[in-house]
Subunit: 136 residues, 6 copies
């Protein structure tokens, strides 16, 4: 029996949407007020879903304590109370849109979680905007 | 990389579940108090999910401002503070169940959004009842 | 020891904001799209707070089953799936604004609940608009 | 047109994670404080999704009143205010993890709901941990 | 300037409502299914509000890290994943109703937090039932 | 009859907690990771409560459209997608703690709303931390 187990986490961060190789005008045209050079920020709410077989002995798909630990070490400690553009190495050259943040989170967790499991990352940038990425 | 981007919106409307070609008894038997001839209403909460490739240049699946504008012009302005049965043309002959409203929303957005994108409509009639439609 | 005990409930209804003794122009000027003659509607979320002494024998401020029953008989059965203007006697001559609905709910519960208790009614017309009335 | 219709419900229960055939040390090693012999408990929030064709006559995928009744009789009355390990027969020999509870719920509803429908069970053990099972 | 600062926390626990000095019939008559001898349980959601002057130097009413630590040591570690009746000394002879749990939480925090501050405890037993206690 | 009417709004912003006249060590000691010189950010959720008499003619305490407009012009346009420390004049010399932001919001709205009304500002910095200020 195969099932998805989900764990919610969160981090607060500043970011700015822009491309270094674009002019200010181009950045404003595409990213609007999200390209504010002084940054703005969000309370990111994260749901990590892990799909796998239910272990008939424990009744667990995955040890949630381990999943919590991976989320804590890989995501929360790396992103929380940070400026994503300036302080998180993955975004030095990558625009920190919700889409790209979700991909980075997915890739970081993918390295930690056995490949017999599928991973799905749901990232709320605000309660009104969110993205879902499953490695497709 | 393919991903779903979601945007939440809302509208308030009155409706009544019934078929004009049925007797009152039949309408009450099937639709219960939802067939009240004087109408009742809901705060509909809508989540529109759009799935597509992440543009490597912008880091966006879709320009959310455009998605917001489509939702505003096609759905919110058409449905908000309306009587769905009496004032929304799509429901003149179509019973405004949550299912049918979701299909109408999906079709209206389908005309506006490039077909390289998949569209999923989640419609909460109440916090306890909702439907999900993806054009299947 | 005095404490507030709260119970959440909900009902769905249609309504229209308007005064019979005003012209259509005046109604639209003041109530905007809420005065739509064909009605619109809401999922009203209700929180009833009852403040009183904790009974040292039971550890209860009030028997929640009784409070639930009062809310059910007085409010939910009277308002749910109704057209407030047309079908609820209290609003025959009273504009069903969130404020007035909260006052009506408060008065109906006040008759049922012993006056040693204070009553507070919180009524969400939408997740974004709500009122709080305590009989002041 | 095929669509998912969802209904939210809830029940409160006590449980303990452990295997009778394991030592206390083994149970604590794997299940941690969740194996407390005196039990702990949760407000389980349940979302049942039923996927099927929209009936062109009614505009319903399924009669929600029937779905509510099945959830009430099969799940709420069986689990609410119960000790899952001691009082719910399905868990006499089955560890009541969120995963196993979701499977039991799915199987109980599967017997009631016509097999032309797909069923999906989402079970929140807490607002931060949840599982999704669709019978795979 | 005086202001309320609030912090949300949570714990999961089993409990049973009953009085040892009452017969089973009396317990069932008053506490219904909440008096189940095998216990049931809840995800308690707790909001602690602390009201005091804003320190003009820091802009803080209270150091939230300290408040979090008090809640963790006094409440979460004492109550989480416990059987309140059997394992929490304050409820050995006190019925663990939401009201009494809120009073116990208030008293425990009152000993830790300077009396220049007012304390308010909001305790959700379920998303639908909650109590508010401020030491009155 | 006197009643509180509440309106929810939101804005996203970057900020940093620190005092210019303190050393970095002092700032870190008191404000921890919130003093990150590169900023972090939040989705601030705001509830503005306005308490006044219900106008017997309209059934309104206040015209919500006006309240929405004040919140939009005074708060959302001034704070949304901004760096509070760098771009909002009120925080040039004032540490943008949740407490201070709530006071600034209260003062800005106080100038717009007739003094026959009481104003209460609830500001969520995160879903877990919030403050309530009423001008005391």
């Amino acid at each position: 029996m195969r099932m998805k187990v989900c764990r919610r986490a969160h981090f607060n961060a500043a970011h700015r949407l822009y491309r270094k190789d674009w002019s200010d005008e181009q950045n404003v045209a595409i990213f609007g007020k999200c390209s504010n050079p002084n940054y703005h920020g969000h309370n990111y709410e994260l749901i990590v879903g892990v799909t796998g077989e239910v272990d008939p002995e424990t009744g667990f798909v995955i040890d949630l304590k381990k999943l919590k630990d991976y989320i804590k070490s890989e995501i929360e400690e790396a992103f929380d109370h940070k400026n994503l553009n300036e302080e998180v190495v993955e975004f030095k050259e990558l625009n920190p849109t919700a889409e790209n943040i979700a991909i980075v989170i997915w890739k970081k967790l993918r390295k930690k979680i056995d490949t017999t499991y599928d991973i799905e990352v749901t990232l709320y940038e605000t309660p009104r905007n969110f993205v879902v990425y499953n490695g497709e």
